[in-house]
Amino acid sequence: MNLVGKKVIVLGERDGVQGTALSECVKAAGGDVVLNINQCFV
């Protein structure tokens, strides 16, 4: 997936992959994180 120049909404989960970690990956791939939300489903 080419994320360069794409605006990205990041949904993270505490016991899965957290939003902050996902955001770093998206940024490194050239994406623009417009919203980063973490959830806890328990």
């Binding site: 505490r14 016991d15 899965g16 992959v17 957290q18 902050t20 970690a21 973490n38 806890c40 489903f41």
Partner: protein, 481 residues
């Protein structure tokens, strides 16, 4: 070096199907669609069903956690043989008695119970091993049903039901204060009641070893409730309120807040207070989270299973000085998730697991058992949240594989060898590793287990003050003697 020890651990459940409607999720959904009430009611469990539920029997210590590996899923379809209300660690209290307990721990006449109902409860609580005459006197006189109905109709009181019948109400604490509404006060009082129940079971155990409630110096409440009013929402100190009604006359206390990670922080702080010689006997307590009742009821209804989030849980842990008998908390190897570590699963696991083990010169397979977030998967899977403990064990195994301590082809095997099945009610801070503490202590005292690591995590980001999560861990080690 000698470290503080775990001298006793207790667990209790209160089966509260009628309070499911006041859980955060059901309450919001019922407001949008009142017809849901019938569906919810049809999927509530009886006390016998909740009491004989294998994970609940594990929680109160009547079954070992590992026994769940051998019981076919779904667990709710079978009953534990000979399941009893009382177990080695505590009890499962029926809802009617719990209403009586709510009334007993209520200092402000917030709870009104219908007179005949209250008298029937008085008779039942009279037989309870931990409820005394002083408690029964606190029940006072019951109220007329008309009075209760008027409070509900005119004074923003919350009705309390039992099997569909209104048997009482919870009053609002202030006409204008949004933090002293009947629903918030019920949440806090339910937490206080379950905490008191857990504390009393703790002292029932510890008194056999000569430690009475009066010997406790300090109580730390690790729960997630927010006690306070409009000027200080969440100011606390529920610890002291719980201590007051548990015989801890020589104690004070405070609340430690860290979302679901609160219990692990609290145990470490308690051990630190003991090790420093500031206090001798420190108790960590956590009461139930009413807001979490029925949180995943939609998933349970969709899968045509009972609503399993129908119990309020409580636990209490007594930390005391090294005694050469009880298992010790290795204060020289505490794991903590520092601000700088970031949020990747690997970074968290390295901070909480690998770093403390390195301090002791140990590898991941050198610990006998890992206790993680022990959420019951039967509660979380129907709503798509997956098997939380299993995910955590695969993360630990993956870290071990990265470090060359475990085979990549055996990631799935780690869970059965070093882990536990989830058995805890999804009660916020309660599942955070500590449900295994009592089992681990017993096994260590029997010489069956040498070391166990307890790992807690907290979702700080839910409070909208930081994007960080949190985590903490400690290692429990059996005595050499």
């Amino acid at each position: 070096m000698q470290f503080p020890v775990i001298k006793a651990v207790s667990y209790s459940l209160a089966h509260t199907p009628s309070l499911v409607r006041y859980g955060s999720k059901p309450e919001r959904e019922l407001r949008k669609d009142p017809k849901l009430d019938q569906q919810i009611t049809e999927h509530l469990r009886t006390f016998d069903q909740a009491c004989s539920y294998h994970p609940n029997q594990v929680f109160i210590g009547s079954l070992p956690p590992e026994s769940l590996w051998d019981i076919p899923r779904p667990w709710w379809e079978s009953s534990a043989n000979g399941s009893a209300r009382f177990g080695p660690f505590g009890e499962i209290m029926p809802e009617d008695e719990f209403y009586g307990l709510l009334r007993i721990v209520d200092d402000f006449d917030l709870v009104s119970l219908e007179a005949k109902f209250q008298e029937s409860i008085r008779a039942r609580l009279h037989k309870h091993p931990l409820i005394g005459e002083t408690d029964l006197a606190r029940l006072g006189a019951g109220a007329a049903l008309e009075t209760i109905e008027a409070k509900v109709a005119n004074e923003a009181a919350l009705p309390l039901y039992l099997e569909g019948r209104m048997v009482g109400c919870m009053a609002s604490g202030h006409e204008e204060d949004p933090f002293l509404t009947a629903s918030i006060l019920l949440e806090n009082l339910a937490c206080k009641a379950t905490g008191v129940l857990a504390l009393r079971w703790l002292f029932e155990q510890s008194s056999r070893d000569g430690i009475a409630a009066s010997a406790i110096d300090y109580v730390i409440n690790s729960g997630e409730e927010a006690v306070g009013d409009r000027y200080q929402r969440g100011a606390g100190n529920l610890a002291k309120a719980m201590a007051e009604l548990s015989g801890c006359q020589n104690s004070t206390g405070s609340d430690v807040k860290a979302f679901c990670c609160g219990p692990i922080h609290s145990v470490v702080i308690a051990a630190g207070l003991v090790q420093a010689g500031i206090f001798q006997n420190v108790v960590v307590v956590g009461g139930g989270a009413l807001g979490k009742l029925g949180m995943k009821f939609r998933g349970h209804l969709a899968k045509a299973q009972p609503i399993l989030e129908d119990v309020l849980a409580g636990f209490a842990i007594l930390v005391g000085p090294h005694d050469g008998r009880n298992p010790a908390i290795r204060l020289d190897a505490i794991g903590k998730h520092d601000v700088r570590f970031g949020g990747s699963a690997q970074a968290i696991a390295e901070a909480l697991i690998a770093a403390p083990l390195e301090k002791l010169g140990l590898g991941i397979p050198d610990i006998d058992k890992y206790a993680v977030e022990l959420h019951n998967p039967e509660v979380t899977e129907p709503s798509g949240s997956g098997n939380i403990p299993q995910f955590n064990y695969r993360t630990i195994a993956s870290l071990a594989a990265l470090r060359g301590e475990w085979s990549r082809t055996m990631i799935k095997d780690f869970e059965k060898q070093y882990g536990l099945p989830g058995f805890s009610p999804t009660q916020g801070h309660v599942p955070s590793a500590v449900p295994y503490l009592g089992h681990a202590r017993d096994r260590m005292l029997r010489g069956e287990l040498k070391t166990a690591m307890f790992i807690g995590k907290g979702s700080l980001f839910l409070g909208k003050m930081t994007n960080l999560s949190d985590g903490m861990s400690f290692i429990l080690e059996a005595s050499d003697k």
